[in-house]
């Protein structure tokens, strides 16, 4: 496995007005790494959804809290971790603790909420969530399209 080339961590107050700040940051990081416009949009939406979940559900409204967002920048991928425990975390250790997220919840398409996690799963290449000490959402987007879960899309395109 390749090691993290660079790591960036941000801590924002758990308030909706700061989700846009994370979006600007990730947009800058992804663009520096060479993702396409469409991939950057996907990453922005997925990371925003994770931050929105954290901001809306992590803390009682009066108390407030913090959301930590970590960006692991690799040669071939961008890993993002959104954690609402309010605690700074060891990125690699936390990542190792996370189990696979496989169960995709039934999406009632006319529900006014609940599409967030579905979008994260759809837009990112790998997603894992952990519920130990707050919620952490870990997601990966690969550079290029040579990944397994892109195989279908790629072969579809080739047959067209």
């Amino acid at each position: 496995m390749k090691h993290v080339m660079d790591y960036i961590e941000m801590k924002i107050p758990a308030k909706p007005e700061y989700v846009g700040v994370i979006r600007l940051t990730i947009s800058g990081i992804a663009s520096t790494m060479g993702y396409t416009y469409e991939q950057i949009e996907d990453i922005k939406i997925a990371v925003s959804e994770a931050c929105t979940n954290a901001v809306q559900h992590a803390y009682p409204e009066e108390e407030g809290g913090e959301v930590i967002v970590g960006f692991g920048i690799y040669e071939d991928k961008l890993e993002t971790m959104v954690a609402d425990s309010g605690q700074s975390f060891n990125f690699l250790q936390k990542k190792a603790e996370l189990g696979p997220y496989t169960e995709s919840s039934t999406v009632d398409q006319l529900a006014e909420g609940g599409l967030g996690l579905y979008l994260i799963e759809t837009l990112m290449d790998e997603v894992r969530v952990s519920n130990t000490s707050g919620v952490s959402v870990f997601m990966v987007k690969y550079l290029g399209e040579e990944r397994e879960n892109h195989d279908k899309a790629t072969s579809d395109r080739e047959t067209n």
């Binding site: 909706p16 007005e17 989700v19 846009g20 979006r23 469409e38 949009e41 922005k44 939406i45 925003s48 959804e49 929105t52 901001v55 809306q56 999406v107 398409q109 006319l110 529900a111 006014e112 909420g113 609940g114 599409l115 967030g116 579905y118 979008l119 759809t122 837009l123």
Partner: protein, 107 residues
């Protein structure tokens, strides 16, 4: 980062133009401004999304709410001039099969 909402009404419909980003921060304002427009029978609301630079599930939630409310009162919701990114968001969530969405001006 904010959202701006312009509303025009003619005999046939209410035209709404939204400019900016629709996320967890701006969605409540949008909902607050748009939901009252659905009151009454047979309302037709056309929302122009040409100048929406970002939208996520919180924005989808606002439009689903609007859509459900209008449907209940025999009204209609049209979303027009969606960017490629926005169109894709409605497509992958399955909403483009349910709601009236067009890339052009819708008339």
């Amino acid at each position: 980062m904010k959202v701006n909402i312009e509303k025009h009404q003619n005999e046939k419909e209410i035209l709404v133009s939204i400019t900016g980003e629709i996320d967890a921060y701006t969605a409540p304002k949008l909902r607050e401004e748009l939901l009252p427009l659905t009151e009454g029978k047979n309302k037709v609301i056309t929302v122009n999304l040409k100048d929406v630079s970002y939208m996520d599930s919180t924005g989808l939630g606002v439009f689903v709410g609007l859509f459900k409310q209008l449907n209940k009162n025999d009204g209609e919701l049209k979303l027009v001039e969606l960017s490629g990114t926005l169109k894709r968001l409605f497509k992958i969530t399955g909403l483009s099969n349910i709601m009236n969405i067009t890339e052009d001006g819708g008339r």
